[in-house]
Symmetry: C2
Subunit: 227 residues, 2 copies
DNA sequence: CCTTGTAGGATTTTCGAAATTATTGCGGTC
DNA sequence: GACCGCAATAATTTCGAAAATCCTACAAGG
């Protein structure tokens, strides 16, 4: 079922989740024929999907040289973290200012779903269902303000950061109580305590960022040693 | 001449400048055949160019319904202004911190070019040469820091704001001494006075934004009266 | 009078092949 | 032995047409 939309659209989503989940290594080439063959479509929709992902920053293209997965570097991770540190607190502040009851409702709803997933028996992170809900939760936090461009930028930055997390924290046991941090953020938001909510969110993204950063450095170090 | 790059790339640039200069009205449909015919190319590169412009925010696409020029609204203009007010001063501060001598050089160079154009006999704003230099100047201001994503976002926001300026300030005589403001910004940057440079830049973009905003409101008002 | 259904035309989307451009491997030269 | 040109190969880019989808107008039914 599922397709009122075009092949290119659904392929865009498939490829995005594939890249986000690390199925394609950073900086690896994305050959059109290869992708077209493996997804059973012609070259045009593949091309279109990759072009869209270029706009989102997950893919880069060079004229006459095709497409590549965006490379992952320490410097880029730092930039993503820095930009999130500026924009997400700003967006959250605006959302708390302007967000109506419907926004609060959807935040509570998606947070409830996230919590239920975490409480299930045998829960482990990186399960697709949790990833989806977690992403939606973070997007919802900044969705209360009437600023579509800002929301889109926040979504892209979140996805970029998430790619690093899933690349470098693979099967790492959670080092801290992320669920607890989520609870506190929601409580502060519902209490309309802007300063507290923003600083909690800032700390939340900073800590994850720092952790990924540390793992990435150690991974790079051991890669260096192999030479 | 002119083409080591693909047709799609050059078409992207042509269409972007056309949209930026107001040749296509906001929210107007962009028919593929029409564009292909008028530029003498097939549908594939047209499609590709429009897809890229989607990623830059100048075009929007809806599945199975083609492409449209991004619409221009007061709310969107406000958002662009707000985002510039956050990101450009931040980027300028980082640039002044990290920018090396080569950055200073290129800033001085492009500023000199801009000044020369303004001093020419019979200078009027909106001449393509000045627009190009002016754009480059503003991009150069934030190009000193090693943050490619931030620079790209700043470029997009600048272009978005510029579209509004060129849509609504058409043939308006300049209401203030923009050249003077540019000089002061450059002086502050070269003196490495971060606070002054950032507040000057902020004021500069704010004033232009407010002016465009005012003209857009009055244009909307008179449009309302026609009903 | 308003709604619903249906044919026709217009437009987008997809395909498969041709044209253009990069890459690779090899032989020859300095 | 290293470097350059040159063919052979592989990949991307573009084209033109076929397929799928949307929009409009018009007629029939409630």
């Amino acid at each position: 079922m599922a397709s009122k939309s075009s092949i290119a659209s659904s392929l865009t989503n498939q490829l995005r989740t594939a890249i986000l989940s690390g199925s394609f290594a950073p900086d690896s080439r994305l050959r059109l024929e290869e992708l077209g063959a493996s997804y059973g479509v012609s070259l045009s929709p593949v091309r279109e999907a990759l072009l869209r992902l270029c706009g989102e920053g997950f893919v880069v293209s060079e004229d006459q040289r095709g497409f590549r997965v965006a490379q992952a570097s320490l410097r880029n991770l730092q930039e993503v973290i820095a930009l999130r540190a500026i924009l997400e607190p700003y967006a959250l502040r605006e959302s708390i200012d302007q967000g109506d009851v419907r926004w609060e409702e959807s935040l509570v709803a998606v947070f409830h779903r996230l919590t239920r997933i975490e409480q299930k028996d045998g829960f482990v992170p990186f399960i697709a269902e949790w990833e989806r809900a977690h992403r939606e939760f973070h997007l919802c936090l900044v969705a209360g303000c009437d600023m579509p461009m800002l929301q889109q930028i926040c979504a892209q930055l979140h996805d970029q950061a998430d790619r690093y997390r899933r690349l470098y924290l693979t099967k790492q046991p959670p080092q801290r109580n992320v669920a607890r941090e989520h609870v506190e953020i929601v409580e502060a938001v519902l209490a309309r305590d802007k300063d507290r909510a923003c600083s909690l969110l800032l700390e939340h993204t900073r800590q994850t960022g720092a952790l990924v950063h540390a793992f990435m450095m150690s991974a790079n170090d051991s890669a260096q040693e192999l030479k």
